[in-house]
């Protein structure tokens, strides 16, 4: 596939190139919305429309005002700082609990493994609208179900940072579980045995032997969890209140109440951040392969 052999027939040649064209078109389909967002974010008007000035490439049609709006508007700044507060804490919770559980699950002889796995993956599977409304009602008035009835807790979680963090942490967990479990499948158990034999206690073994090897899986799961929280709108709309508004919340109300290209400016900035994150992931992956002694490809 990588290159056309010199002896290829005309038919093969035609197919080879048309296949590449098809793939190119599909890649274009994937990227098209992003390609549309970037120029529109420099629109001088307040609509999501390519104006005649823009199409003529007239500098009059372009402006940085939406970027300026993002950087000066207190609502957007609050949303940004909230997102930057909520996402890392939620990620930290999902990653720490998720990694421990994935290690536990990867051991042999875990009773009820399938059921436990199903419960842990469920936040990814259950439709968001169901999770959001369930959390909304439950977090408003949380209780502990006991055989004798509900014991209500003397606090509420809706409209608090704790509530949003808790909800986002739950949503991020499946990603951590899946990526870390995948890394552990390739993990050579004799390494921990060797470490134990040489006198290391389990904690030392974990941090000195296991952790460095599964780190790429943990980081990639963490990134997934981070993005989940950073891009999540349905649950935060229900569980949060204005004080906890995150970037997607602000975008959603922006789309509904006043269609402002500031949203596109924010999206453009986020796309560049995503590219940086993805590049980081790729570099980490290559490093991990080197560490594990696989061929760098």
């Amino acid at each position: 596939m990588s290159a056309l052999p010199p002896y290829a027939s005309t038919g093969q040649r035609a197919w080879f190139y048309s296949y590449r064209v098809i793939c190119g078109l599909i890649f274009f389909f994937l990227i098209a919305p992003i390609l549309v967002i970037i120029p529109l974010s420099f629109n001088a008007q307040d609509f999501f429309t390519f104006t005649p000035e823009m199409l003529r490439l007239d500098p009059e049609g372009y402006s940085l005002k939406h970027y300026q709006d993002f950087l000066t508007n207190s609502d957007w700044q609050l949303a940004l700082s909230n997102s930057l507060k909520i996402a890392p804490i939620a990620t930290l919770i999902s990653v720490s609990l998720g990694t421990l559980a994935a290690i536990g699950l990867s051991q042999s002889h875990v009773p009820g493994r399938r059921a436990i796995m199903a419960i842990m993956i469920s936040p990814m599977i259950v439709p968001l609208i169901i999770s959001a409304t369930g959390m909304y009602f439950f977090y408003s008035n949380p209780y502990i179900p006991t055989p004798f009835g509900k014991v209500y807790l003397p606090f509420t979680l809706t409209g608090t940072y704790a509530g949003v963090v808790l909800a986002h942490a739950a949503l991020g967990i499946p990603f951590v579980i899946i990526t870390v479990t995948a890394t552990l499948v390739g993990f050579d158990k004799s390494l921990t045995r060797a470490s134990a034999m040489m006198g290391a206690n389990p904690v030392t073994t974990f941090f000195r032997v296991q952790m460095p090897l599964i780190l790429p899986g943990v980081i990639s799961g963490g990134l997934f969890a981070f993005i989940t929280s950073f891009d999540e709108v349905v649950v935060v709309l229900f569980v949060g209140s204005a004080q906890q508004k995150t970037l997607p919340w602000q975008m959603f109300t922006g789309l509904r109440e006043q269609i402002s290209p500031t949203i596109l400016a924010v999206a453009t900035i986020l796309v560049f951040i995503s590219i940086c994150l993805l590049t980081t992931l790729e570099i980490l992956r290559r490093r991990s392969e080197r560490l594990r002694g696989m061929s760098p490809g």
Binding site: Y136, S140, T156, E257, Q258
Partner: protein, 369 residues
Amino acid sequence: MKLTKTLLATSALTVAAGAAMAEGHMASDMTLVSWGGAYQSSQINAYSDPYLAMNDGVSIVWDESSAEAVAKLRAMAESGNITWDLVDVEAADAIRLCDEGLAMEIDHDEMLAAGDDGSSASDDFGDSIISDCFIPQIVFSTTVGYRTDMVGDTAPESICAIFDTDAYPGKRALNKRPLANMEWALLCDGVAKDEIYDVLATEEGQDQAFAKLDTIKDDVIWWTAAAETPQLLADGEIVMGSTYNGRLFAAIAEQDQPIGMLWDAQMLDFDGWVIPADLPEDRLARVMDFVSFATDTQRLADQAAYISYGPARASSAPLVGTHATLGIEMAPHMPTDPANSQNVFVTQYDFWADYRDDLDAKFQAWLAQ
């Protein structure tokens, strides 16, 4: 047994309430709920910025959740955790909230400032006090905007242009709920204006309205957010669409879009504040302080400098001046201006309060079919 307990509890409750009253200090944080967009900025400019300038140490957070106000207030009441202090809702929602005991009943004369011209608050607001819980702010109207370059030589002059797909081919945008659409449908199906609500109260009348709407069902894009119509008009996606007059004003005057206003049979409506029921005393004190400031004659007139909605107080009308940045006279853009209000349709709130559940259910089922 039950009764004795009840009577005992009475004195305890009365004492507790008295103590809270006596303390009387005001909370320093407020969460105000509004609609976002240009409307909310007009409130920030006219009400909250001046208020914050006068009151050090107070902070205000805005929540753009007015569209879900009824659902959220009900859930808050159910959980006993009210996080909002003041909620901007339209008249029909205010009636509903008041009916369900989710909003606080207020005494307008006692709690709100008297008019600049000396009239009492209830006289000054007049008919706009449509519910005991409602603190009016503005008069707005649901009206139609059209693309001036897509309607040919004859600009539409009657509301029935919406239903006339021969003269004005193309898509139209209408609100995804029965209010206004049902009235317009009947009006354009030959029902006299003063009989519309009587007809709409009957099953046959409702079927008649749906039959009229059926004629354009395939040509309609249904909007849920008022900002969609200006966007669709700017894109040339629709030939005409209904929305709130202030949105159209912003698109025409501030954004220079080729859009014209069709004021015929505009549906006049009110928008205002409600205070959630059962707020703690200190928060209630702060809200009352704010709301009496924010709805005085001058503040309501100030708001009109940012958006083309009419102030709900009669005494504010003479103070309406020019647009804050464009410098144009605002009065001719108000729904209440004589030139615009030749054929006005005043929404009947008591009808909608009673029939909203019924008609909503039917309308949504009709849409889904």
